[in-house]
Symmetry: C2
Subunit: 346 residues, 2 copies
Amino acid sequence: MSKSVPTLEDVAREAGVSRATVSRVINGVRNVDPGIQDLVRQAVERTGYTPNQAARSLVTRRAQTIALVVSGAGDERDGGQGDFTARVFADPFFGRVVTGVVGFLRPRSMHPVLMFADSDDARRQVVDYLRQGSADGALVVSTHAEDPLPAQLAAGRLPAVCFARPAVAAPISYVDLAHRDGGLLAARHLLARGCRRPATVSGPLDLPAGQERLAGFRDGMERGGVPYVPIAEGGFTLDSGVAAMERLLAEHPDIDSVFAANDLMAQGVCRVLRDRGRRVPEDVAVVGFDDSSAALACRPPLTTVRQPVEAMAAAMAELLHEFVLGERTEPTSRIFDPELVVRESA
Amino acid sequence: MSKSVPTLEDVAREAGVSRATVSRVINGVRNVDPGIQDLVRQAVERTGYTPNQAARSLVTRRAQTIALVVSGAGDERDGGQGDFTARVFADPFFGRVVTGVVGFLRPRSMHPVLMFADSDDARRQVVDYLRQGSADGALVVSTHAEDPLPAQLAAGRLPAVCFARPAVAAPISYVDLAHRDGGLLAARHLLARGCRRPATVSGPLDLPAGQERLAGFRDGMERGGVPYVPIAEGGFTLDSGVAAMERLLAEHPDIDSVFAANDLMAQGVCRVLRDRGRRVPEDVAVVGFDDSSAALACRPPLTTVRQPVEAMAAAMAELLHEFVLGERTEPTSRIFDPELVVRESA
DNA sequence: CTGAAAGCGCTAACAT
DNA sequence: ATGTTAGCGCTTTCAG
């Protein structure tokens, strides 16, 4: 058999210097004679050396890896797992988070480990993973309101940053959107269009995002002279949007506009409208939220409130990185502004 | 400050035994007195000990991590990155792969690191990652035909398993579907329905999956007495399905059925048909491929050829695991059978 | 500017 | 059945 993977020792011998010097060259530490640097680099080339990350981590106490965890509140056992994963990926939102996170991580040669925390057991795994030092910190995206993970992470003093303020209060960092302002934007646009009989398909009302988007919309309508807005609660999925819209239409057949708290539900809304023979936007104008891929996939393309998910995700990674480096210690929040994107649905 | 994380040493002292014994208990090695086991477990509890993975990996030479890499052929620089990630997540297929992989990994407390290999540089990162021992092996899903990664992995003798046979030949393991049989299934179903003027929106013809699904379909039609099938090549995306269908309809306005090589394109096909006032399936029957979430999201719900992606992904992880454990050494292939799922579109 | 040496925390022979 | 001991490959004082 050929000799196994080369170590620092091998490179040092090959270059005729000490291990320490090779280490310095590899890690780009200053104070190394340029001539020797070349020597070492050639030796590295010849031996095909690659530093062993475990050995490195053991002394630096850094894994160069962060956990990207999608967390639910449930306590489902195995059975639910597949569904949970599937649901997460069905939402175009998650892909954007990954895009943003990877964009920040990659140039720093760090990598995300994907974890799903949809049961007590899975959550324990996440915490253990961090305590083991397998990952330097966690980026968490919660899908449910009562998710206990953020609090657990905070209690364990583990570096972590959440996407959106956790419903369960905890001293933890997060990035979030000014959801309320987003709702306001939607209301103003509909008002400007002349709509006076709006309705809304809200997000889950136990989620801050659900509440605030609704509050902002109502507030905007109220200020615009429309005191009452029929509401049907949805669950941020296409199906829930369909169901909510059917309820709304049954009780309020004369509405002239709908604000859906995310694009997936807006898509459901459009589908129902179409099936009922109502034209969008002529008969009923529809405004979504997120500006996800669903907004463009929808017929007609959705006018929607853009949430800069990629930028938010990158900021989340950046914050975490600062914690890991010890440059930051206090829990921090970073709030982004929404923006109206006008297309054809309203 | 409180003393930092407890080590084996601390637990050993606390329990009044040697490090070795504690290690044995923790790793469930036999030959340890039950009484002492309890003692140790209590000490672990009291100290809140968690094994350090880096130290462990250093000696076991196992990271308990595998790389889940999505690989393209491109050589795009930074700019393309975001798009690539977004495109990957937009396809419901990838979520199913993750579900299957995680399902296998989780019970073994192993975790997937997400990597995107859409440039030479990124591919180098993947190879280095494995050589560093940060991951024990790679699971690769290629999105393009000329993806050089599988060959690179094989050349480096790195443990790896691909989803689908790589277009670039290499001595590497993979799981795949009997695509040809899938095409046959679609043809037979359409034939049984009485369709005699079929057309097909194929996948990219430089991809084995694209070629074989098409070949199977044509073969089936031929055997059923239909010698000619108009074809338009697509790219497995919704938009490409729309474009392909428009071309098809322009040149062959009298077709009575369409076989699309995946559900996303079938969705596009249905959309075009609907816009042109053709009823599905009354005027034109449509059969998709994959049975992804897009099949159910489509109106009408798609009759499609099911690809057991989750099971295939789990098999991929299992194969890799066997390589990592050294239980398997020769490149291996595992082929799954497709299955027709009849819904409303055909 | 470079080398020698001391660990990082753990597992696995080898003793006992 | 348990303890002793030697590393795994690397970074990092500390001398020189």
